[in-house]
Amino acid sequence: MAKVAVIGVGQSSFVRAYPGSIRELAFEAYREAMKDAGLKSRQIDASVVCSAPEYDKQRTPAGLMAEYLGLNPQPTFYVESVCSSSSSGLRTAYALVASGLHDVVLVLGFQKMSEISSAESQERMGRGADIQWEAPFGTMMPAYYAMYARGHFEQYGTTEEDLALIRVKASTYGQINDKAVFRKAVALEKIMEPKYIATPLKMFDCCANADGSSCVILASEEKAKDLCDNPVWIKGLGMATAPINMAGRDTFSGLKCAQLAAKQAYEMAGIAPSDVDVAEVHDCFTIAEMMAYTDLGFAEPGGGPDLIRNKETYREGKIPVNVDGGLLSKGHPIGATGGSQIRTIVLQLRGEAGEMQVPEAKTGLVHNIGGVGIYGNVTIFGKE
């Protein structure tokens, strides 16, 4: 497989309500990534645009973004896998470059969630599920993940406090990430207050909706050597799916799509979980990060609670996870999230992560899930 590098990254601040339209929001990430890569728009051979539909009114957003970003007449199209859209976008862009069809491809993720209410946002998310057989009961993401939390508690004896410790970690790093929505530390007692959203998940077990954009620029080996001093290489990719309906699932204590995607990515990169120096995982809910610990092989089944209790997933621990605050602190602008995770890992491997830097990080991993494990994307990055 041909070598493909990341030569530019950018993201907007993730905010509650962006004071502009989706095109202006997208441009923030685009500007940052293009300056990071030192490129002009005519040097981009194709773009992939990623978001979840029905949050804004723009149909066929790829066409709009190509115009506003200055990427006409190059090819562009829309890639969607709900919360993992920009990772699926990266996978698509990787294939375009690795095949030789294009040399430089840009992945633009965006989401403006503030145009609709919280309840309407959950209604959209409830339809990110089987609309014939499950959505008619009032499904929503917190409820689905809550069923997995219950399953995890039943299977392993995990507690609400184990999950709360994950939020404590997230809030630690939210304080030092100036792109995050939540910038304050949150105490364990506050997280444990019984403000249930869907039992056993409480308010602080859930990430917040946010407005944001992200941009990742990929290049072929030849172009990367030509254009970039510090390319970060894509070493492995994995993607897998699980039935969109709960009736099709085997168990409710882990995400099969993540397990399969991770296995593929590790195999392609030729590494084991213990070789990962820093990871970004999809912590849309605290339980999602807890499951990721095992799904990615960072802990044995049932070993997740110990990992967080022993602070092994803090920056100084054996496997730093979400030391940029994760979705829990950054917020989760659906289409932009994957690109933000990728950007963090790229900065880590370049040594440009500032206060969040994991010393001498050489191998990084991004775990980005769509819906309640409908889509699992795992991507591994390296310095060589």
């Binding site: 209410s117 309840a119 309407e120 959950q122 209604e123 998310m125 409830g126 339809r127 089987d130 609309i131 014939q132 057989w133 499950e134 959505a135 008619p136 009961f137 009032g138 499904t139 929503m140 917190p142 409820a143 809550a146 069923m147 997995y148 219950r150 399953g151 039943e154 249930y196 959203i197 869907a198 039992t199 056993p200 998940l201 309906n245 709960m246 009736a247 099709g248 699932r249 409710f252």
Partner: protein, 137 residues
């Protein structure tokens, strides 16, 4: 004709599997079984993804199931606000058939436990709507 009556809110007017609602009106929960290869499906499918056939029969899901997981929603998506709090759950019945749905609102929500025995019953809703719930066995 008929399928739009299913559930608390419907997003689907037309489906070849609309007979599901007729069975519900008769107090039955039915899945489909492929007449060519015998694969069973719940929720009901009109097309067999195992052998590609579209020749399906309907079979009843009866007896007791085991509750695998559940949650109590205290916040609802738009359109479902008046039901709050409501419980969602998933239970496994014979032949590995799993059924996802609301839990009966007459149950004591705090007494619901994983592993408890449940059965399915149909419930008439306002405005000519119909649904099913998981209830205590």
């Amino acid at each position: 004709m008929g399928f739009e009556q299913f559930g608390i809110v419907s997003f689907t007017d037309t489906t070849k599997a609309e007979k599901f609602v007729e069975f519900l009106k008769n107090n039955e929960i039915r899945g489909t079984v492929c007449t060519e290869c015998g694969t069973k499906f719940f929720p009901p499918r009109s097309d067999c993804n195992s052998c590609l056939s579209d020749s399906m029969d309907w079979f009843p899901i009866t007896g007791e199931g085991s509750l695998l997981s559940f949650t109590k929603a205290t916040f609802a998506p738009a359109g479902f606000e008046k039901d709050v709090p409501y419980m969602l759950g998933i239970a496994e019945f014979d032949d590995g058939m799993k059924v996802f749905g609301r839990l009966d609102k007459t149950l004591d929500f705090d007494a619901v436990k994983a592993g408890m025995k449940v059965k399915i019953r149909t419930v008439d809703l306002e405005e000519d709507r119909i649904t099913y719930v998981l209830t205590g066995a």
